[in-house]
């Protein structure tokens, strides 16, 4: 996941394709400059300023301001509360993963099932699908926004949906305390490991041969999680069953 920085290496690299006419020149060039700016923010980390980006891209300051305002307008970037530092916006997610797996489509019936489950409980209910070792939050609970996919994938061993995937892929050479053992576990739980006061149970959705295709993640207060698991499993089991037919 964290392989390969680009061939040109670390932050501060010269980008020969960029010139001072980044925004006014031909479209491909403007697009390339925008991509470079996005890359610089990802490399420098949150808090990088417009002037630092202008220096890194070797463009004039006004060009950099225009470009950054455009990327903020499109929500690929956000300004941090001090208004001078930049960070990646949620929309930058579009660059993660291949185009084919970026936005998996799910049948409307699946959304209806999840919506019904949501209305029957006060916990946050999300639908996650798995493909090629990656996970996608395909139907996040709007009232309880979950962590984004990049964060979840970087914390696989500590989140319930990640633990389910790890146990299935049998990549856990060194067994982690929370990762369920045995073939095809039905669910995985984490209590207070991502955020101290939150817990989550991930209920597996498997196709007929047992391959993990999706999970229903139910999140809520950590102190009530352990007691509630049985109840939540009972509620979600029929939904998981029906989703298995829809998604496999």
């Amino acid at each position: 996941m964290t392989e390969a920085r680009g061939p040109s290496g670390r932050a501060g690299t010269r980008h020969p394709a960029v010139d001072d006419h980044g925004m006014t020149g031909r479209q491909p060039k403007a697009a390339t400059t925008a991509l470079h700016a996005l890359e610089e923010v990802a490399r420098h980390g949150p808090g990088v300023t417009a002037q630092e980006i202008a220096r890194a891209l070797d463009v004039s300051a006004p060009t950099a301001y225009r470009l950054l305002n455009l990327l903020v307008g499109e929500e690929y970037l956000v300004r941090l509360p001090d208004l001078s530092g930049f960070a990646l916006g949620r929309r930058a997610m579009e660059f993660v993963g291949t185009a084919a797996s970026a936005a998996p489509q799910i049948p409307r019936r699946a959304r209806t099932l999840i919506a019904r489950l949501r209305s029957s409980t006060r916990w946050g209910v999300h639908l996650i699908t798995y493909a090629n070792g990656h996970l996608h939050v395909v139907d996040p609970d709007p009232d309880h926004p979950p962590h984004d996919e990049v964060f979840l994938e970087r914390n696989m061993e500590r989140c319930a949906v990640g633990r389910l995937l790890l146990s299935d892929a049998a990549v856990a050479d060194t067994p982690h305390a929370g990762i369920p053992q045995g073939r095809h576990p039905r669910y995985a739980v984490q209590v207070g490991e991502l955020e101290r006061h939150l817990g989550c149970v991930a209920i597996a959705v498997r196709d007929e041969v047992g391959i993990l295709v999706a999970a229903i993640a139910i999140a809520g207060p950590a102190d009530r999680m352990t007691d509630a698991v049985e109840e939540l499993l009972r509620k979600a089991a029929p939904v998981a069953q029906e989703l298995a037919d829809l998604l496999s």
Binding site: M1, R5, A17, H36, A42, G73, V78, L83, F151, H197
Partner: protein, 524 residues
Amino acid sequence: MDDDGGASAADHSRRIGAAIRSSHPVRGLARRSPFHRLDRRRLGPGAVVAQSLGSIAPAAASCTTPVLAISLSSGSGALWSALIALVVALLVAAAINVFTRRMAAPGSLYSFAAQGLNPVGAFLTGSALLLGYAGIAVMCLVASAGYIGGVIDRSSSTGSGPALGVVISLVLVAAAIVAVVVRRGTSTTWALLLSVEVVSVIAVVAASIALLAAPGDHSSFGEVLTAAPPADSLGSAGLIGVFAGVIVCTSGFVGFESGAALGPEARRPFLVIPRVVRWTPIASGAVLVLATWAQVDGFTATGVDPLLTAVPMHDLLTARGLGDAWSIPLDLAVGCSFVACAIASVTALVRLLFAMGTEGVIARRFSVVHRRFRTPVVALSGGLALVVLVPVAALILGVAPRTVAEVAVGTGVLGYMVAYVGVSIAAPRFLRRIGELSAGSMAASAAAGAVLTLMVTAYVGMQLLAGNGLAVLILAGVLILAAAYFSVLRRHSPMRAQAIGVFDSTSSEDVLQSAPAAPGASRT
């Protein structure tokens, strides 16, 4: 070269994916926006356009401002006045867009000013803006009652102008409409507002074109702009006259920025709000220029005296032999446009009170929102009480509706202009603070600030000369009271005074990869 560009774009896209996956998470962000109680990120661009356009009321402004510019002795230079006023509006728009590209705040100019001025300066800007919204709202309520009352009056043919009881009832009916619409929220009502504005603009454009196409003598646009006016009709008083006309025409633009008050509620605000703030003055300026051309042309050819006409479009249409068929639809359109303008002004006023209540700079009750519509209902009751009780009391005490409207519009325009001065001074200081100051934005803000300061001074002078000293007195009184209030607040609740400038700052639900916030932050 193109192949190279395409290949490198795909390559970059992959590298960015890798860079994003290995980037550092953002720490220490709040879980939610300070304005999470509002219905955030829901409104489309249409709603923002409706808000900005509604606040200008281009149809009403285009009917009433050209004749004022013409009669204020700028004569046929009025067309120049309209064009220069458009440039001034665009300079102010540039200063405001420094902020709208970077932050969203229901307090609009007030919260923007707080990023570049000290707290007192910001609070004075906010108070002036409050007066701007309230003054224009009052003027719109009274003027809509005047126009619609006039239609009722003429159809019942008593001919003596609408009775006081009718005017007060119409003000109350308009206020009730405003209350219902603002409480319900822009998300469901913007299409109606926008249609009212579009229909009334079409009515004014059609009337202007009819004037320009009517049989008789005409001057072309170029002739009006270049030719020295005929000595016997509309004499030009030279540059001073044009300048006075610029001030009057600029007063027809105020409110164009009010879409910014919907920033937190709009989708893609950093893209949509700046566009609306830039294009609204251009669009309404085009209508204003057309109407000015038609009126200058009309007054020159027909000999109607601009100093004596109360309803210029009517009198000109009548003089051109097109009168009766036009007058009722035109009055209804302008009357409705005034109601829409009152709705937009109150919408912005309520957001400003809501922002101040959220900060705690005024009573925190003002931050309470409606449970279902998520609109600031306590702020609505407060704001509406102000803009209804004041004019109704004045009318009952026997002040003529026309006088109430004139004082209200004078106060409102002054309030807006002072707030524009505040934001123009704040813009370059804000840019320097965040390290993004460029020569262009420095020059634009300086020009806007200088021109506006000059215009505020001149406008004060004009109001005093016109015997409208009350508007100046109200503005001065409110600013002095605001300064006194803020110094008391500072002494007794320094924390609340410090909180000034809250905006819709980025929270962890907006960023990719937010790490858990500090312990104690709640997720649900």
